[in-house]
């Protein structure tokens, strides 16, 4: 299953409701919608706790017929990797499914994760079997299946690898943590020598692609990836080179075997021929500048 478009020519939706609007990508998406002149409603966890038992009814009250809903809300691994976190994430998805049964939506766009894939396959496409190896991956796969089975709306699902960009609320291993470490300590700590290759996606590009899916009312499944993978070591070097003081890149004794992940993005090329991802170097340079600006210089 890959993406197909209900609107071959992009059309503004009546209104877009963003769930998880306070998160890393949610903030970018709301801004992109505003810039595109699209009416949006930004709902974060302070507005509505989707894991609450009454969340479905409360969410339905917020929705209008023909709304497009972008479901980004999730408790990420830094909030917990246990079964309690898993169940709360599933409860959030259940609330969304139930709300779609109460209000007829034009479109439902959901963020999943590349954690649904195992590392047995290094080159990933949408056809790669989903074999999650931890509760976080199992959560996302289960949410995908719940949405496919129970959500009453045309459905698009993105599987997203780790994103980078200024203002990240997480501190997982990768560009964001590297920059924080470099600014704070003048050093970047790698697992092993940072050999692992990953597809690093700029959060602004992720928001751009989501906006395209909203405008074309696309349905199906897409990996949100650039198609170019880079080692963590190379990322650390790019960040160090972008700062105006020497940064020590510190390898460590390797605890786990090296795994790589690459994406075959041919389906994305087909779905969005004009989509352009910014080169990693440019994206990291912007992240450094924005982070400094947010910190007051």
């Amino acid at each position: 299953m890959t993406l197909s478009h209900a609107n071959n020519v992009p059309q503004k939706p009546a209104r877009v409701v963003v769930l998880g609007a306070g998160g890393f990508i949610g903030r970018r998406l709301v801004r992109a919608l505003t810039d595109a002149g699209i009416e949006s409603v930004a709902l974060g966890s302070r507005d509505i706790d989707l894991a609450d038992g009454a969340a479905a009814a409360r969410l339905a009250e917020q929705l209008r017929r023909n709304d497009s809903v972008v479901f980004l809300a999730a408790l990420t691994p830094d909030k917990g990797r246990d079964s309690g976190t898993l169940m709360r994430n599933l409860a959030m998805c259940r609330a969304v499914c139930e709300a779609t049964q109460k209000v007829e939506l034009a479109h439902l766009v959901c963020a999943s994760s590349d954690a649904v894939y195992s590392f047995d396959t290094a080159l990933i496409s949408e056809e790669t079997p989903s074999v999650p190896v931890d509760l976080y991956g199992a959560m996302h796969r289960t949410r995908e299946l719940m949405l496919a089975a129970e959500a009453k709306a045309p459905l698009a699902i993105f599987r997203i690898p780790a994103l980078y960009g200024a203002g990240d609320t997480h501190n997982s291993y990768g560009p964001n943590r590297f920059l924080r470490q470099a600014l704070k300590d003048g050093s970047i700590a790698l697992f092993g020598n940072g050999e692992e290759m990953r597809d690093h996606v700029c959060v602004d590009d992720a928001a751009d692609l989501m906006l395209r899916v909203v405008l074309q009312r696309s349905t199906g499944l897409l990996n949100l990836a650039t198609g170019t993978s880079t080692s963590f070591h190379a990322v650390a070097e790019l960040i160090a080179a972008g700062l105006d003081r020497p940064i020590l890149i510190k390898p460590s004794a390797r605890q786990n075997p090296v795994t790589h992940r690459h994406f075959d993005v041919t389906n994305a090329l087909r779905a969005f021929p004009s989509m352009r991802f910014r080169p990693l170097k440019d994206g990291l340079t912007a992240m450094i500048a924005d982070t400094r600006a947010m910190a007051g210089g």
Binding site: E127, G227, D264, T266, L269, R270, P273, S274
Partner: protein, 434 residues
């Protein structure tokens, strides 16, 4: 025994070529098809398929080979081949409705003691399950038609694989006389073995191609060159001089896809392990998109509305077939581009792309283009001068999966020449001339 008269029913690609080859060995051959329009076309020497040597072969057969729409004309035949092409759908599933109907039709028209030979490719179990005629006079013969080389292979077969009801019984003398005329080994075996032998041959071909594709892609990334490696493999007796070691754009044409689908279906039904087949199919889909990925990385990512020249539409050279053609797939997927397209045998269809200009000659496809893609290795494309191409392109990129252009000449002309299995141009420049 007098020289047997041979009939062929079904005058599409397989039947026409095979009948012509038998007539070429001196037999009187009756070529039957129920479609009078097709027979009329054949009698006008307007061949429905493009195959090198076909016209010459039929011309040489003279009156030994005649075309008819009258099924009763098969009554004069001692051996009747049933040989229509079997259609397949997009999933590689065959539709045997027409074949089975024709077999019944022919069985009713043949003389009672004539031999029937099913030549169309059928799955294991098909021939034994037929309820027409006597099993002792019913055979299945493996066809090894190769589009674009069909006459060569039909007139000089490597061997005959013959499925029989009982392989211990001698072949019917009249059928044997036809096969002996080609002076090649004959391997009788039970129906089911022969039916699976054909599929086995195709699986081995796909295995070789998939190995080549897998390693050729690695070559592109690490600075190795598959064109240097393949000749070394061919000198290995365990691999062989004729092994399919040319990397390609996935499996196309319909026949190999059909056989992989058949093996998967049988393995699923019987609970045998066939993960390898799934991997081949995945590799084929992946490799089909190689030109699109190359264009994306080298041209499309940096240009708002590029113009792309496309040479070749057919799935391979010397054929008019576009079944599962990677070129057609690419044209459909270049939605954000304008295209100029040329093929020597097939006119590009307007429905494939809204902004496509079919052109009348190869170099014209290059005019003002940001990149050229040579999707089919037609022999006449090899005569194109890289300097002439460079002079008419606006950009420098030539995606040439099969290396139709000479690599050194293309580089000398300043082209960024991208070839399957070859180190990328940037890599070559870096490693050979640091």
């Amino acid at each position: 025994m007098s020289t047997p008269v041979v009939g062929f029913a079904g005058m599409t690609h397989l039947g026409l070529i095979s009948a012509s080859a038998v007539a070429g060995r001196g037999f009187e051959v009756v070529c039957f098809d129920a479609d009078p329009a097709l027979i009329d076309r054949l009698n006008r020497r307007d061949w429905p398929v493009l195959e090198p040597g076909l016209d010459q072969l039929i011309h040489g057969n003279g009156t030994r080979q005649r075309f008819t729409a009258q099924r009763n004309d098969l009554k004069s035949c001692d051996v009747v081949y049933v040989a229509p092409d079997v259609p397949t759908d997009d999933q590689g599933t065959s539709d045997f409705t027409g074949l089975t109907a024709l077999i019944r039709d022919v069985a009713g028209a043949m003389k009672p003691d004539a031999v029937m030979v099913v030549l169309s490719q059928v799955p294991p179990g098909y021939t034994r399950a037929l309820d027409v005629g006597s099993p002792e006079r019913r055979y299945y013969q493996v066809e090894t038609l190769v589009f674009g080389q069909a006459v060569e292979r039909a007139t000089k077969p490597e061997r005959y694989i013959v499925g029989c009801a009982d392989p211990a019984a001698p072949l019917d003398a009249r059928f044997r006389a036809v096969l002996d005329a080609f002076k090649c080994p004959i391997l009788p075996m039970r129906y089911e073995s022969a039916e699976l032998a054909k599929i086995s041959i195709n699986c081995c071909l796909v295995a070789s191609v998939t190995v080549s594709n897998t390693l050729a892609e690695l070559c592109e990334e690490i600075g190795a060159d598959w064109s240097e490696i393949a000749p070394a493999l061919k000198l290995d007796r365990r691999i062989g001089a004729y092994a399919y070691l040319a990397p390609g754009l996935g499996i196309a044409g319909g026949n190999l896809e059909r056989d992989l689908a058949t093996v998967r279906r049988l393995a699923d039904a019987h609970g045998t392990e066939a993960g390898l087949i799934v991997a081949w199919q995945r590799n084929s889909r992946y490799r089909r998109d190689w030109p699109l990925r190359q264009l994306q990385a080298r041209v499309l990512a940096g240009s708002a509305e590029p113009l792309i020249g496309v040479l070749g539409v057919t799935y391979k050279e010397n054929t008019r077939s576009i079944k599962n053609s990677p070129a057609v797939a690419l044209i459909r997927e270049l939605a954000s581009c304008r295209l100029r397209v040329f093929d020597p045998a097939v006119q590009a269809a307007a429905e494939w792309h809204p902004r496509m200009t079919p052109v009348e000659e190869a170099l014209s496809a290059c005019d003002g283009a940001d990149a050229l893609v040579i999707m089919t290795p037609w022999p006449q494309f090899r005569a194109l001068e890289p300097r002439a191409i460079a002079g008419r392109l606006r950009g420098r990129v030539v995606v040439d999966p099969f290396s139709v252009l000479d690599r050194a000449a293309a580089a000398a002309a300043g082209l960024e020449h991208v070839v399957l299995g070859a180190p990328s141009p940037a890599f070559s420049a870096k490693t050979l001339h640091p």
